[in-house]
Symmetry: C2
Subunit: 189 residues, 2 copies
């Protein structure tokens, strides 16, 4: 029988696509193996275990997210940068719900997902360049931004906003207005 040509990279890619299709929680070693037409045991020659697969998937998602963020931020500053970053973030989560969910797994600071995670964090910090905040306010603001973006997308995905007539898009835009406003007028300690 011909070999299937499975590699860790192709597994991770396939797992990402599968996650977007059927949900991150439903990505199993077995389902992945079926997609490649091999037995589940075959995958263990390429990945250590299911957890390893999830970490690789998280790294993939964080890398893609950082790439999009970088593209959105290029040549922009101030509110332009904030809005472009935020929209890139939200659109990624909507286009790739499975990947986005994968990016939220707990990240081992020494592990292979730590690098793209750090890069993603640096992108978020770059939003603030135009706002000129001193430390430690800058760190506080980065955390607030990240929290708001992640919280909004996460609640929206879970259907938290769907039972009120107000459009989620409209609230999102106004939330970004509010964030821009508070960054420009950051309260004194």
């Amino acid at each position: 029988m011909a070999r299937a040509g499975v590699t860790a990279e192709r597994l991770t890619q396939a797992a990402a696509d599968l996650a977007d299709e059927i949900g991150f929680q439903n990505v199993t070693v077995s389902a992945l193996a079926r997609g490649f037409g091999v037995k589940p045991a075959a995958l263990y020659f390429h990945i250590r275990d299911a957890r390893d697969l999830r970490v690789r998937l998280a790294a993939l998602a964080l890398t893609e997210l950082a790439d999009r963020a970088a593209a959105a931020l290029a040549g922009r500053a101030g509110k332009d940068a904030l809005v472009a970053f935020a929209n890139a973030y939200r659109e990624y989560a909507k286009e790739h719900p499975g990947r986005y969910a994968a990016a939220q797994v707990e990240i081992d600071p020494g592990g292979p997902a730590a690098v793209p995670a750090r890069r993603h964090a640096e992108m978020t910090r770059a939003i603030l360049r135009g706002y000129d905040l001193p430390e430690p306010d800058q760190t506080d603001a980065v955390r607030m931004l990240h929290s708001t973006f992640h919280g909004y997308v996460s609640l929206e995905t879970a259907g938290g906003f769907s039972h009120h007539p107000r459009e989620a898009d409209a609230s999102w835009r106004r939330t970004l207005d509010a964030l821009d406003s508070v960054l420009r007028n950051w309260p004194p300690a």
Copy 2:
């Protein structure tokens, strides 16, 4: 053999405690049955399936969260109310990580978790009484608040803030300052 006295309520309570101990994702019908000293199959006479158990757990957590929010808001207004609510929210998530995770499951609007979910949403809206925002800004602000609280707690729990010397507590307080500030100066459309 003596009967174990299993009921749906006791199962849900035990599941909540178990979730806080070993994590929401690790709460299984089997593990729960072990805790009651019965076989897994016995539980299916009290709950429909594993999903049903998770929904009941979510309802429990949302009810407790709404209770805490109500207690925090009682007799407070403006920033006092905002800070009290936010701290109650964050403390609940820290004390009961498993319950908190359960509260984030996707909620069927017609299901039994919809009632406590709505109550929780109303509590969040009550924060804004002191800020006097007209609709639809009020809805937008509620969504922003909820997003920020949930996002912050969720990222903090996942260890997202642990690799920077700045204390997560300090950033939290400053984030609340910023939210108060932006609610008092809500940007015009």
